[in-house]
């Protein structure tokens, strides 16, 4: 095979027409479900949590898809191609246990308290456990910040992939991706999301099994692939985690595997808020099992394609992706559009549908969550409590459009490899929400001001360290910014945020008045109270 000169992209193979046809069919299917679901939305309860009557298997699939996202199906293969599998080691595999951890710690209370306290968002839960407005506002601000980073990674993936497939410039291709998502989310809300993502995640599972099969065939087995990479000129640099991370491999592992990926999953609203919608509380175990297993099957499959493409480059069957396309983010685009488009376009189309499905399964949750953070958690709950349900529903849709617009604007200025945009978003969610959620359920010593201070410290620490110290350093791709940050701070930004969040809640709770929200007294029944406050909202 002859590859083009550096910076000159090869011509699209003829099979891309078949791939494009598969994707157009997929888009029409998704929009059709959105229109169908529209008639089922009667109020904010249906729009935000599907009337709390969605089968658990649908939500388990949706949550797993939201966790995998385009980060694992698109960004992470690029990161692995560029600098080795160390991100997968620290970030990806530990997320598998995050699902059962969430059920064991938080799941039951989120579900069984949902109707009584009219819970729809994570700030709702925190507000009812700890009490007060400030904790809702801080949590909502952290959510909006994280939404922008994480969603940008998803749109960037769609922009790169659809742009390559349809020959479109990056921005219109990304706008096409967000446009489709906004339409079906605004029309069908939670119900449309649950149905569409049953399709999306089914496609992701099929695509993952195909990905592993073709990767294994192309490389002549796993041992041969690893041996080829390990003994090449780039082998040591590609496989030595500690060298890539400037001697701070274990700092990375503590930040991600021990804190952010596993226990931090508890604080991921796009994943965990789905628990509010489960029909029967006794089926929560199936959500944890499906989430862990589906994530365990799908995430590593596409990551494997990053290693496979690295192997293909070393043996001369693939170009140097960053040199030809300008970024390692094009690994999956090259593999699906150029290689499979020429050799096996139907399989290529299914793999592309898997990536887009992964992106949509996350984006829709973020649009709903970001809009809800502004309209419901801040404005409605704190400043305009007299809104009717019709007004709330209208304003939820309006703020979702606003959040979508913010994300589109940021998508036009991608700052980093897709994998790091998503990781920063994940870390921001985890450091803002996870400490307060975990301690609020497990420790009866928490107080209103302990929780409020912990959410603020977690949110502020992660955002400050990221925006001031980390992003300016990550103008160089291949993870060198991460290594520089770890060399200076020893833990990742979100690791510090989560750790300081826990410490702050404990210290402030020990020295402040024992004031809490009403849900606290349901959870910690053994605590003696003279007068537990009544729920703020009646059941719908």
């Amino acid at each position: 095979m002859v590859f083009p000169l550096i910076g000159q992209r090869p011509e699209l193979p003829g099979g891309t027409l078949i791939e494009a046809g598969i994707i157009v069919f997929w888009i029409l299917l998704v929009l059709g479900v959105g229109f169908w679901s529209r008639s089922r939305i009667k109020g904010s309860g249906e729009f935000m949590v599907g009337g709390r009557a969605i089968p658990v298997w649908m939500l388990g699939m949706w949550s797993a898809g939201a966790a995998v996202s385009a980060w694992a199906f698109f960004g992470l293969p690029g990161g692995i191609y560029a600098s080795g599998a160390w991100q997968h080691w620290g970030i990806c595999t530990p997320m598998i246990v995050g699902f059962p951890i969430t059920v064991l710690i938080l799941g039951r209370w989120m579900r069984i308290a949902g109707r009584k306290y009219n819970l729809m968002t994570m700030p709702d839960f925190l507000g009812e456990v700890y009490g007060g407005r400030l904790i809702r506002i801080f949590a909502a601000i952290g959510i909006v910040i994280a939404c922008v980073f994480y969603s940008t990674a998803q749109f960037a993936a769609i922009g790169v992939l659809l742009g390559t497939l349809f020959g479109l410039p990056y921005v219109p291709a990304a706008a096409l991706g967000i446009g489709i998502t906004i339409v079906y989310v605004l029309l069908g809300g939670f119900i449309a999301g649950a149905i569409i993502n049953a399709f999306n995640v089914s496609m992701m599972i099929v695509a993952s099994l195909i990905a592993v099969g073709i990767g294994y065939t192309w490389t002549g087995g796993y041992v041969n692939m690893v041996n080829t990479i390990a003994t090449s000129a780039v082998g040591n640099a590609h496989m030595n985690i500690d060298a890539v991370l400037g001697g701070n491999g274990w700092g990375f592992w503590v930040s991600w595997a021990l804190l952010l990926s596993s226990f931090g999953l508890v604080g991921q609203p796009a994943i965990v808020q789905k628990l509010y919608g489960i029909k029967k509380p006794s089926t929560l175990w199936l959500w944890g099992l499906l989430g862990g297993i589906i994530f365990g099957i799908t995430c590593p499959a596409y990551c494997y394609l990053g290693e496979v493409t690295r192997y293909l480059t070393l043996v001369g069957q693939a170009p140097n992706i960053p040199a030809v396309f300008g970024s390692a983010d094009y690994v999956i685009a090259w593999l699906t559009v150029y290689k499979l488009g020429a050799e096996q376009p139907i399989i290529g189309g299914l793999l592309i549908a898997g990536v887009i499905g992964a992106a949509w399964s996350t984006i829709d949750g973020f649009l709903m969550m970001g809009g809800a953070a502004i309209a419901r958690d801040i404005i409605n709950k704190c400043f305009r409590p007299n809104w009717t349900d019709k007004q709330l529903l209208r304003n939820l849709r309006l703020t979702m459009v606003v959040v979508g617009a913010i994300i589109i604007i940021e998508t036009m200025f991608p700052a980093d490899l897709i994998t790091w945009l998503a990781a920063i978003g994940w870390a921001q969610f985890a450091s803002t929400l996870a400490p307060a959620l975990i301690l609020g359920v497990l420790w009866k010593g928490v107080t209103k001001w302990g929780g409020t201070a912990g959410v603020f410290v977690g949110m502020f620490t992660a955002a400050f360290l990221t925006l001031v110290f980390r992003l300016p350093k990550t103008s160089t791709p291949l993870g060198l910014g991460t290594a520089g940050f770890l060399a200076t701070f020893k833990l990742d930004a979100g690791g510090w945020g989560m750790l300081l969040g826990f410490i702050t809640i404990i210290i402030v709770s020990l020295i402040t008045k024992k004031e809490r929200g009403p849900l606290y007294y349901d959870i910690h029944k053994a605590v003696s109270v003279q007068a537990a406050p009544a729920p703020q909202a009646a059941a719908p």
């Binding site: 246990v97 039951r108 294994y216 087995g221 690893v226 041996n227 390990a230 175990w285």
Partner: protein, 75 residues
């Protein structure tokens, strides 16, 4: 330390594929011998994370839920 980190990155995520290799008669780990000292620990970790923890914990929770239906009623 180096061999442990190399193995975490390379075998942890795809240990299942190494099993397929072995089933097809392709032996080895694909890595230089000096890098493979900690393989047993890492290989175990992969299967614990992927296949054991979600299954065992969630089946335990299911059994617990059946014994305590009162704790799973709406508040």
């Amino acid at each position: 330390m180096f061999d442990l980190l190399v193995f975490l990155a390379t075998t942890q995520q795809y240990a299942t594929l190494i099993l397929i290799d072995w089933a097809l008669g392709i032996s080895g780990w694909g890595l230089p011998a000096a890098w493979t000292g900690s393989w047993a620990l890492i290989y175990l970790e992969e299967f614990v994370f992927w296949w054991i923890v979600p299954v065992v914990t969630m089946l335990w929770w299911r059994s617990w839920a059946k014994k305590h239906p009162d704790l799973l009623e709406e508040l």
